[in-house]
């Protein structure tokens, strides 16, 4: 197993606030790493530092052993890193299918070839398969902005997989998805992980979802890693319980 993502002593300070305060971890190929922690513990800031949205104040990020610290999102995207955002981010005026085509098109051929090639960049088939897998086929042609919150959340996640990414960072994918959908959503993510051979890092508050989806869980509190291990062990770790209850 090779290490796909590694953070080495990452720091991110906002004025006096140490949002991320010396975080180090590794993610191995094929893992689903869950990142948990109380609100304001620095999870999203950690994601943003890993993904080039904001540069870390200190420390390094490695992707497949290469230093990618502070690399722009677009460059990371070309290296097969994909993400979803905590707040919903689909393109409301495009149809669900068009959202998926957009998510994949920039990874196919050169820009000039795309201009003179097919309008859908040859992605309609792939987009429709993705819609089917995420149980969104019936809304394929509707503007994404008109879908229910849960459906948009699924679409948002599906978009992250369109380019066949090597590493996917999911920021609260289950938030707002209704209970009846959650089970099949989790199975879909597992299948994506197994079939697509991609590695996941998932921030999530829904403990049951994290525990049943992830192969390993890391808990962050006040910008530091306080536990890192098997889901069950982390769940029962007294410092983790303390961090949650103490806030």
């Amino acid at each position: 197993m090779s290490v796909v993502l590694e953070a080495r002593d990452l720091h991110r300070h906002f004025g006096g606030v140490k949002a991320v305060n010396g975080v180090s971890f590794q993610v191995e190929e094929g893992e689903i790493l869950g990142v948990i922690g109380p609100n304001g513990s620095g999870k999203s800031t950690l994601f943003n530092c890993l993904l080039g949205q904001i540069p870390p104040s200190m420390g390094q990020v490695f992707l497949d052993g290469k230093d990618v610290t502070g690399m722009k999102p677009i460059a990371l995207s070309r290296r097969g890193v994909s993400r979803t955002f905590q707040l919903l981010q689909v393109f409301p005026q495009l149809s669900a299918r068009e959202n998926l085509i957009l998510a994949g098109q920039e990874h196919i051929g050169s820009r000039m070839k795309r201009l003179f090639g097919k309008p859908d960049a040859g992605l309609t088939g792939a987009a429709d398969r993705m819609l089917e897998q995420f149980k969104l086929s019936h809304v394929a042609a509707l503007p994404a902005g008109g879908l229910s919150y849960g459906q948009q959340k699924l679409l948002d996640a599906a978009m992250a997989f369109m380019a066949g990414p090597r590493l996917v960072l999911l920021d609260e994918p289950a938030g707002g998805v209704n209970l009846s959908l959650l089970g099949s959503f989790r199975e879909r993510l597992r299948a994506m992980n197994a079939e697509g051979g991609s590695t996941f890092v998932v921030i999530e508050h829904n403990m049951d979802f994290v525990m049943s989806l992830c192969t390993r869980v890391m808990c962050i509190a006040e910008g530091k890693v306080i536990a890192n291990g098997k889901p069950e062990d982390v769940r029962n770790d007294p410092t983790v319980i303390e961090a949650y209850l103490g806030h």
Binding site: Q53, S77, R83, A103, L115
Partner: protein, 316 residues
Amino acid sequence: MNHPYRVLAIALLLVLVGGVAGFGLKPYPIYLISQWAVYTISAIGLNLTLGYAGQISLAQASFVGIGAYATALLMPHGVPFGVTLVIGAAISFILGVLLGFPALRVQGHYLAFVTLALATIAFLVFRNESWLTNGTSGIDKIVRPFPFTSDLAYLWLCLGSLAIVTLGTWWLLRSPWGRAFLALRENPVRASSLGVDVRMYTLLAFAIGAALGGVSGALFAPLGQYIEPAEFALPLSFSLLLMVVVGGSGSFLGPFLGAMVAVALPEVLRSFQDYYLVIYGVMVILLLVFSPDGLVGLIERAVRRRPVAAPAEPAK
């Protein structure tokens, strides 16, 4: 109305109607239709930058000016019209790229001010650099390219150019580029996380829009056969902006309708003389209050509201 082939067909039909109507019309109406075609090309360019890619520009008139001066200055030296048109478009394209750079840093009102600055600089160059542009006296006796010397033939040249621009823009917007432009407008942060090169597409949105302004200018100069700096000052930029907004920003047919209103309204309201602009202004305000997506939005709603025999419940 959103069906891609339908909007293309309607746009080309409008062009065709203009061309056929030319047969039965006097020179002045022919001039007006030619003017419509020229403004529409320019508005299509601005619609691309503003409507689709979401980047405001108040400098579109400058590119029309660049296209017009390139043609007016180069044709007397024996450069064929087709070449002057390409040169005007190319200079505009390059300046458009430069104008795009501030947009990578500032957006909205601030971007409007930056483009306003370019528009002002361009106007000052047209007016003050007399050695090149003949200053406020302007350039007269601009000849029309053979064989499009008659009013009717020149109308067809303008409409033919509009048809080509229409087809090209339609292709562009339907391609993955069009989708990327929309992504740029709706959510640049998410777009870049999906691998959309926001920087490149912003520059392209400005450059392509500007190049169409240049094409429009190249046709503009021989149409009236006289140009002067004031024609390419801010009022034209605002007028083009109004065409896009009144027609329907971000809709394919918007510029066609917006330019039609801008050309026809002064004629229709001629008897009101000085009050014309007041009436125009009030109409624009009313339109935007009731239909923020312009005339195209208004028409779309009218078509949808029409009673249908079948269950009329639209899919939500």
